[in-house]
């Protein structure tokens, strides 16, 4: 028998979705630059920079949702603190962008960002060293969230903190970081965070072409991350994760160090979330402690739940749909959005346990 026979109906369906997801994103990579940059502004087909940035934001959220689905959907770890990894990645990128401002800040200090001048700091704190270099900053985008996930996960999984306990302490984690980043003494701009970015790698952040470039990068990173996570969950590693989700004790008695599997899934997820944050910051132009708010972390869980957890593509679909709905509603009826979001949480869990893609794939069967 071949490994093809080993595949289940579900994974064959997933293969079919792989094509759809990567295909759609690939088309976006090709079409969006054309519509935004070459189609003239008066045309109905023209994509405004605002729309491109909005789409780019959705893709960042999709990447974040992908990260959550990997741990929640496949391993049963409901993290209510993934916003922390996202924000840390964002801050690492923000620090790079701050250093790129150079002496073009309000105070014109060539070394110190404006808020440090304002706080009357004399020199750059040590943890800001190196962030003028793009490669170093990108390494930090991966390393800082990854390290936090590694340390936190190592403690948590080793001590078998799981289920709702884990959810609650991940929430505590992001809440503690929220409070910490609000403090001016931390050296990350306090309440206001980091903003007023000028350029990335020498490209003007306000320029249309840069925005389109950021969108394309985000889409490509999403395709790559999707492919990597799909590879991971289709491997035996992925089957072990599902087995841990279903019956962790049983896996231990089969000889698996379940904490190691959970830890590495968690670290990978944290890194993806960090990268999503790093891509998000140059597009929206700001990163502040609000990104650490527990509310954000819980909200992103519902994207995954609505889309359909444990599928990967469901997370992407959910993130894009829910955020599109959010944009639409907050434009139309700002007060109503929280009602809609609340209803999504309730209805989603009650009536759509397998999410939207669950509905679709049931029909296909």
């Amino acid at each position: 028998m071949t490994s093809v026979a080993n595949r289940t109906v579900a994974s064959r369906l997933a293969g079919h979705h792989d094509l759809l997801v990567t295909g759609a994103l690939g088309i976006a990579v090709l079409v969006v630059p054309i519509l935004a940059l070459t189609v003239p502004e008066g045309s109905a087909l023209h994509l405004s920079t605002f729309s491109v940035t909005l789409l780019g934001k959705y893709l960042c959220f999709a990447l974040l949702a992908l990260a959550v689905d990997l741990v929640w959907g496949y391993c049963g770890i409901l993290s209510l603190g993934h916003g922390a990894f996202f924000a840390l990645g964002g801050y690492a990128m923000g620090m790079y962008l701050m250093r790129q401002i150079g002496d073009r800040g309000v105070y014109g200090n060539p070394i110190l960002p404006d808020f440090m001048v304002f706080l009357d700091w004399q020199e750059l704190p040590w943890y800001w060293w190196g962030f003028s270099s793009f490669p170093f900053s990108m390494a930090m985008v991966v390393a800082v969230p990854g390290l936090l996930a590694l340390v936190f996960g190592w403690f948590a999984f080793r001590s078998r903190v799981n289920g709702v306990y884990l959810s609650i302490i991940t929430q505590a984690l992001t809440y503690a970081l929220l409070l910490a980043f609000f403090r001016n003494e931390m050296g990350f701009g306090g309440n206001n965070g980091l903003t007023d970015f000028k350029e990335i790698l020498g490209f003007d952040l306000q320029a249309d072409a840069t925005r389109v470039g950021l969108f394309v990068t985000t889409a490509l990173v999403l395709i790559a991350s999707y492919t990597v996570t799909r590879g991971v969950v289709s491997s035996r590693f992925g089957r072990v994760l599902v087995a841990i989700r279903d019956a962790e004790d049983r896996m231990r008695f089969l000889g698996y160090r379940t904490e190691h599997y959970k830890l590495w899934a968690f670290v990978l997820s944290g890194v993806i979330a960090g990268v999503a944050g790093a891509l998000y910051v140059p597009q929206v132009g700001i990163i502040n402690p609000g990104e650490f708010a527990p509310l954000n972390s819980i909200e992103l869980v519902i994207w995954v739940a609505i889309g359909g957890r444990g599928t990967l593509h469901g997370a992407i679909v959910g993130a894009i749909l829910v955020n599109f709905a959010k944009t639409w509603f907050t434009g139309l009826l700002p007060e109503a959005w929280l009602f809609v979001l609340g209803a999504l949480f309730v209805m989603g869990t009650l009536f759509l346990p397998r999410g939207l893609v669950g509905l679709v794939s049931r029909r296909e069967r």
Partner: protein
């Protein structure tokens, strides 16, 4: 019409004689006379003259107003103490377009105004058009001293104490003499010790010239102040120490005094630190009880039913809004509205809780993470509803008078009544809950379902009904927490969000399913937080506590008091 001063003095003292005989005896009457003489000077007064003195207050010149105040005090007019006090507390004003001085009556709410001279209530309760009397700091000082002097002769020991405090640290030898006289007749022990302190402070402040002559007395005064918690004591000791130390050559007596002062100051500082720790503990315990109150409802739903109710914070919020609404409905019964709000808040939150359980949670049993998400959705829904129905803005709930103010034990230690009441309230709620769970049939059924749902059902317990009641009970207690919180902070749509993380920490730290664990955890976290605050600041203290809990959960994943045995495995 001019009457001799003595007539008025006798008159004003006469009405005190009866009281003085009951309280301090004949001596106080004599003191009263002596005071009148001190006050009296050469002042003359008549009703017309008195009115014209009051009229002076409307003027702009601070000097003339000061003179008028002194004259009012010296007049010995029966209305003088009332007027001086009202002036000091900014309750005195002139009616519009008239020379009539009116006083707001303290402690009886707004709108009650009396005539300054006759003390009769009048109906002119206008807000605009009042002409307030502008005072400067020198006038305030003068007023305070005049009021204090009058207070020394009061028959109410509380007023006497207040007066002594006002007089403490004044250099005036006349006042010192007054204080000494007062000491001779004073019988209440606490007032005596206060007088002794005040006299000792006076002794330290006296001129250096004659101080040298009575080094013995000064040493005694220093010793009397050792460990005294009044701010004035410390100031007097510090002052004398600086003066003595700045001397070129010191006599052996002065050296001895310096040593004694140092010791006295040390004793003061030690006691102050002790009281500071006590105060911190009090704040910690009161914060701890707030945490406990906010968390026990959660502990019930989480521990007994295994259900995470993310809308728990909103149950607290609903309780707080209930308190506010009750207060709006009965604006004339501020004192009792909080008491009425207690059952109302409980019922409102409990009913909403039952509705949530019946409508959503019961379909999700055995799926804790889904329950968490669904109840979070409900919490968003409730928050937005409150924003729509009431307002996105915060509402302030007024505190009844029996909950405001402080219980002042000494200059270093005072307890806020609202915090004291909240401790009492939380402790009562906790005790009641323990009582319900361990002494009633319902409690037995709840515990039975918590331990073994299937077995309880087999024994005839209606699981579904118990679930709804349990959820309602937990939510209702959250409503009670809302009543308590409304007395500490403003009521707003985000009130619940602000407390939910803390509540989870308490439950998880204490160990799920153990109410005593919740109590210990809440108090521990409250006290720890407050102990850290002086060193780390409020925010960092909170972060440290969160980090501590995160680390603690790693070591003991099931909290301080874990459930053990097979039932814990489920």
């Amino acid at each position: 019409m001019h009457r001799p001063v003595s007539t008025y003095v006798t008159f004003s003292c006469h009405h005190r004689i009866g009281a003085a005989l009951r309280g301090g005896g004949v001596q106080r009457t004599l003191l009263c006379l002596a005071l009148a003489l001190v006050f009296g000077g050469a002042a003359r007064a008549s009703t017309d003259g008195f009115e014209s003195m009051l009229g002076e207050l409307a003027g702009k010149s601070f000097r003339r107003k000061s003179e008028a105040i002194q004259a009012i005090a010296d007049s010995g007019h029966p209305a003088a103490p009332r007027i001086l006090r009202a002036l000091l507390e900014s309750r005195a004003f002139f009616a519009p377009e008239s020379e009539r001085l009116l006083l707001d009556v303290a402690d009886s709410g707004e709108g009650v105004v009396v005539d300054a001279i006759t003390g009769e209530a009048t109906r002119v309760a206008f807000e605009s058009g009042r002409r307030k009397i502008v005072l400067n700091n020198a006038m305030r000082r003068l007023l305070r001293s005049l009021v204090a002097r009058a207070g020394l002769a009061s028959r109410d020991p509380r007023e006497r104490r207040q007066a002594i405090k006002e007089l403490m640290g004044r250099d005036d030898p006349e006042i010192q003499a007054l204080l000494r006289e007062a000491l001779e007749i004073e019988q209440a022990r606490d007032v005596r010790s206060l007088l002794e302190t005040a006299i000792a402070i006076g002794a330290l402040r006296e001129d250096d010239a004659d101080a040298g002559s009575d080094a013995e007395a000064r040493l005694r005064a220093i010793e009397a102040l050792s460990g005294s918690l009044h701010n004035e004591s410390r100031i007097a000791l510090d002052g004398l120490l600086t003066r003595l130390e700045s001397r070129q050559s010191k006599s052996s007596e002065e050296e001895a005094q310096i040593g004694a002062i140092r010791e006295a100051i040390d004793a003061i500082d030690r006691r102050k630190v002790g009281f500071e720790i006590l105060e911190t503990l009090f704040f910690g315990v009161s914060l701890g009880f707030v945490l406990v109150l906010a968390a026990i409802g959660l502990a019930i739903t989480f521990g007994v039913m295994g259900v995470i109710n993310m809308a728990h914070g909103e149950m607290i919020m609903l309780g707080a809004y209930s308190t506010w609404s009750v207060q709006q409905l009965m604006p004339h019964h501020l004192e009792s509205s909080v008491l009425v709000a207690i059952p109302v808040a409980f019922l409102v939150s409990a009913l909403v809780g039952v509705a949530i359980e019946r409508g959503v949670v019961r379909f999700l049993y055995g799926r804790p993470l889904e329950t968490l998400l669904a109840t979070f959705g409900i919490s968003l829904f409730l928050q937005q509803s409150v924003r729509t129905i009431f307002s996105p803005l915060n509402r302030a709930v007024a505190s009844p008078s029996w909950m405001s103010g402080q219980w002042v034990l000494n200059d270093a230690f005072a307890l806020n009544y609202n915090r004291l009441w909240i401790i009492v309230f939380s402790a009562l709620v906790f005790a009641a809950l323990i009582g319900v769970l361990h002494r009633t049939r319902l409690g037995l059924q709840i515990r039975a379902v918590a331990q073994n749902r299937a077995m309880a059902r087999a024994m005839g317990v209606r699981g579904a009904r118990i679930d709804a009641i349990t959820f309602g009970l937990g939510s209702g207690i959250a409503g009670l927490a809302g009543v308590a919180l409304s007395q500490l902070t403003n009521v707003g749509p985000n009130l619940g969000q602000a407390h939910i993380v803390d509540s989870f920490m308490v439950v998880v730290f204490g160990g799920v399913g153990n109410l005593w664990g919740t109590l210990v955890a809440g108090l521990t976290l409250g006290v720890t937080n407050k102990l850290l605050e002086p060193f780390a600041g409020a925010v960092l203290a909170k972060i440290l506590v969160l980090v501590f809990i995160i680390l603690f959960i790693q070591r003991r994943p099931r909290g301080l008091f874990p459930q053990q045995g097979r039932s814990a495995e489920a």
